[in-house]
């Protein structure tokens, strides 16, 4: 009788094992997956330009150029501010144009490059006739070169393009 019980328990265990194996099989489905990954470094550096002026104002004339001392290509523009008591004549070299009181260089300035042509500032009043010292402030502003969706260079034409321009300015008193 005892032997019979043992066999019965063994039989039940065997049945449970087979049942469990059956459940596992019925819930398994064919699945698969694959994965790909990749990326690119981006370069987004600030621009640096410096005004390169002739020192002093010999012959009441000042010559202004701009150098790109940063690490990325940039666009640049120049502002020249002077007292209202001065009569100033500003001559633009090739590549420069004026708009809204700023002088824009129409070519991309590569790192280490200097504008090919200059801006010449001429004070037409005699210094002797000017009662006090005067100064001329030169401001250069620059923004990184950006691109359109098709890969072409985006030329900054609107003032809004220059809202985040890095700037550098000098003020010389004469």
């Amino acid at each position: 009788m005892k032997e019979c019980k043992r066999y019965l328990i063994l039989l039940v265990c065997l049945f449970l094992c087979i049942s469990a194996a059956g459940i596992s099989r019925s819930s398994a489905y064919f699945t698969t997956y694959t994965k790909a990954i990749g990326g690119r470094h981006v370069v987004a550096k600030d621009t640096r330009t410096v005004p390169e002026e002739t020192p002093g104002i010999d012959g009441m004339q000042k010559v202004v150029a701009v150098s790109n001392t940063g690490e990325v290509p940039c666009w640049t523009r120049v502002k020249i501010i002077h007292g209202s008591q001065l009569d100033v004549d500003i001559a633009l070299g090739e590549g420069w144009s004026q708009r809204n009181g700023c002088y824009y260089y129409g070519r991309i300035l590569q790192p280490g490059e200097k504008t090919a042509d200059n801006i010449t500032v001429s004070v037409t009043a005699d210094k002797e006739k000017i009662a006090t010292d005067f100064n001329v402030v030169v401001i250069t502003e620059s923004i990184p070169v950006t691109y359109n969706e098709d890969g072409s260079v985006h030329a900054p034409t609107a003032d809004s393009d220059w809202e985040l321009a890095a700037s550098e300015w000098t003020r010389e008193v004469y």
Partner: protein, 257 residues
Amino acid sequence: MKKNRVSPVKMLLLFAVILCLGFSGVQTTRAALSVQSNYYRAQANMQDTGIAIMENGVQITDRFNEPEYRGRLLGGDLMLMNGETVADFNYGVRYRENLAVKNTGTIDQFVRVFVTRYWAELDENGNVIRKLPELNPELIEVRFVDGNWTNPVLTPSGERYTLYYTGNGGILAPDEVSPIFADSIRVNGDLELIVSTVTTDVVDGKKVTVYTYIYDGKAFILEVEAQGVQTHNAKDAVISAWGKEASEILTNAGVLK
């Protein structure tokens, strides 16, 4: 009383007869086996599931051969939308990134893909060292294509899209390449989005204003994972493998009945 003894010779003879009979019996059995029946052949075909990712028409992953099943996206030269190849990456430019899935298995499959985008630091071999969740993944714009896939659903973090294949009844047949689900990638280059701080200093008598670009030197990452599941016993298979939400999406899309 005289004992009835069997002589040794007779005993030996009897033993020999028994042996002969025994061997003859074995021989008969062997003969019977050799003519019993013809061979019957049975064949069972093992089914495989496999899936691969296609980038600009090139298969870049292989479910069975690629170590860890990983392929390399955005490798080599980049391609502009007009087909011109360029080596350097620039902000704002849209690059061709035609992404599709191929069924490399032997059975029909339902397919879904995850497209993940984020910023990270990479080592010199291009492996991700550290994710940068503080940088905005929305600057990495993947343009999806309508028609044969469900509308991409984006996670709240803005990192991961999920799409399900719905073309051709949602079934991707063996060796079939799906229609593309994305056609391009672009990183938004608006300066106001990528500039973080501005400082103004006087250096050597010059007033200098400088901006800091927090994305400089960082890498944008694109990950694509494709998953497949059998179409036989469809609803149970989808629920079991991908969950109830996936089943509802595919039902709403008309793929599951």
